[in-house]
């Protein structure tokens, strides 16, 4: 791990220490005239073609996943049965129910709310897909959760996928007054994932409202006593049982790692094809060891230049 990266991966220190380094925002717009510094290795002889090629490459790298319906193969990670086995469907008692969670509740068995797992599966797919795309585009992801029982788990999850976590007391103004609290030119997270939407006094976590204020999209596990309104991609599910939280952490970790690996593959592929020149046929990736070598992760076939990729 690079030293700069390790410094920035401070966990649980009560401070979102990641964005301390001033970084230029990598713009997602492909139409910029200024080429990005990455692909432009040497603006040598083909002066006209290289800048366009690099933009084109960047554009292709960024936009390619959006054309597929399930680029990261999210749906193979879980099923309704696996959600059931992890007790995701168990909600709180009917007295604790939040009014806005009623659409997501299947019914109540002897006063205990049961969450509709069909809806949960659909929401979870969207949430994981969004997370994967953000990770693919090198976005900063922040895991937030205030339940002390799972504080350590969330921090280790974040560390294992190379992202950030904040499971301690959330100082007011951390997102809204970031230049003062964290330093000038701080890059705020591009996605906040809530494993627990409530804080320790059963009120909505401050970061939910603050993320909405700062235009940061959120993904959150909402239990039957939570307010899902301000969360961009809510996932109705149990946030109190250990198997359930372990499952969600595992899913997020897997999908983020998968997305980052995909990004590396795509860059390698396109860099290779760029080096060989646009006329030469891309004879397949020259780095087979890196492809599909992620343990426990089946490599989906990468899109090729020639054919249209059939969606799985």
């Amino acid at each position: 791990m690079a030293p700069a990266a390790s410094v920035s991966r401070l966990l649980g220190a009560g401070v979102c220490a990641g964005p301390l380094r001033p970084r230029l925002l990598q713009s997602a717009t492909p139409g910029r005239a200024r080429p990005s510094g990455r692909t432009l290795a040497s603006a040598a002889t083909p002066a006209v073609r290289e800048p366009e090629g690099s933009i084109d490459l960047n554009d292709r790298i960024l936009n390619e996943p959006l054309k597929h319906s399930d680029f990261f193969n999210v749906k193979e990670l879980f099923s309704v049965r696996s959600l059931f086995d992890a007790r995701v469907h168990l909600g709180h008692k009917a007295g604790c129910r939040h009014r806005f969670m009623e659409p997501y509740i299947f019914g109540s068995r002897l006063d205990q709310d049961i969450i509709d797992l069909e809806q949960t599966a659909a929401h979870l797919w969207l949430a994981l897909n969004f997370t994967a795309h953000v990770a693919y585009r090198k976005g900063i992801i922040l895991f937030v959760g205030r339940n002390r029982q799972f504080s350590h788990l969330i921090e280790t999850t974040a560390r294992d996928c190379g992202e950030y976590a904040h499971t301690r007391y959330f100082k007011g103004g951390l997102l809204t007054n970031a230049p003062l609290l964290l330093g000038p030119k701080v890059r705020l997270p591009d996605l906040i994932i809530f494993l627990h939407t409530l804080n320790n006094v059963f009120e909505p976590h401050v970061a939910v409202r603050d993320a909405a204020k700062m235009q940061i999209p959120t993904v959150g596990i909402v239990d039957t006593n939570c307010n899902p309104c301000l969360i961009t991609y809510p996932v109705p599910g149990n946030d109190d049982s250990p198997p359930s939280v372990h499952l969600f952490c595992r899913l997020f970790q897997t999908i983020i790692n998968r997305a980052k690996q995909k990004r590396r593959h795509m860059e390698a592929l396109y860099r290779l094809q760029g080096q060989e020149g646009p006329g030469a046929r891309g004879g397949g990736p020259a780095h087979p060891p890196s492809l599909g070598a992620y343990p426990g992760d089946r490599s989906s076939p990468l899109p090729e230049e020639s054919g249209s990729h059939a969606c799985p």
Partner: protein, 249 residues
């Protein structure tokens, strides 16, 4: 960078899109295209929580099964099952579940009378070796009259409690004592039992009369006899057969 901090106005996406369109926000954020391609099922707009007034109720159905009727009757008769629940085992079948399955089996064979089915299921289970102890046998000395209980099996909420709840209410319900027993069975404050007459006790021949203390089964001299049921102290139980009990008028 410009932004809009009005979280109550629209969704994050709508505000960003409008800022971009107005030219206030120069660079498209990272997540914008992703949101465009894969929008959520519900746009995340702010909503004020409003209380429900009057008779308005949430439209959430109770989850009840036809087997719940059978379970209610089982717990009425037998109290909580003797076998403890093993939740680690995903294929675990409790006594109640075995009962329910056997009941449905027998029902499919054509039997229609509920009580008969019930009795036959009990017999079938006993034949298989499952222990079923009727609650009425163990606790006859509690006067059921003082405990007013709804005994309809369709009132599942009060009776189909989870198996590890205390069986005491079911025990009180399960016995077949008449309400007129209140004079004949009472307990003194010091714990000795006073009983007069055996009128109502002839209902079930298998009833056991339990005297908390045999030696003081005389009229107790303490003046605080109320006839209220007192939970008997376990070490004082001496089960005695009905016709051998020394019952004083």
């Amino acid at each position: 960078m410009a932004g809009s901090r009005l979280q109550t106005v629209g969704s994050v996406f709508s505000r960003t899109r409008d800022l971009l369109r107005a030219g206030v926000l120069k660079e498209k954020p990272l997540w914008f295209d992703i949101y465009n391609a894969f929008p959520p099922l519900r746009e995340p707009v702010f909503r004020r929580t409003r209380l429900r007034y009057g008779k308005a109720k949430a439209a959430i159905q109770d989850i009840l099964y036809p087997e719940d009727r059978i379970r209610a009757k089982f717990y009425l008769a037998y109290g909580s099952g003797q076998k403890a629940f093993d939740l680690f085992n995903p294929n675990f079948k409790s006594t109640c579940q075995q009962f329910v399955e056997k009941y449905i089996e027998l029902q499919k064979l054509g039997e229609t009378d509920e009580e008969k089915l019930f009795v036959e299921t009990g017999k079938a289970l006993l034949a298989e070796g499952v222990i079923l102890r009727r609650v009425g046998e163990a606790r006859t000395q509690k006067a059921g009259s003082h405990v007013s209980w709804e005994s309809e099996p369709s009132d599942v909420k009060s009776q189909t409690v989870l198996e590890n709840n205390k069986p005491l209410p079911e025990a009180l319900q399960g016995q077949h004592m008449e309400p007129s027993e209140e004079q004949s069975k009472g307990q003194c404050c010091c714990g000795c039992i006073l009983s007069s007459g055996t009128a109502g006790l002839e209902n079930s021949s298998s009833l056991l009369l339990i005297l908390p203390c045999m030696e003081t089964a005389q009229f107790c001299s303490c003046q605080q006899y109320r006839g209220m049921p007192v939970s008997p102290r376990p070490h004082q139980y001496i089960p005695v057969l009905l016709n051998q009990a020394r019952i004083l008028p």
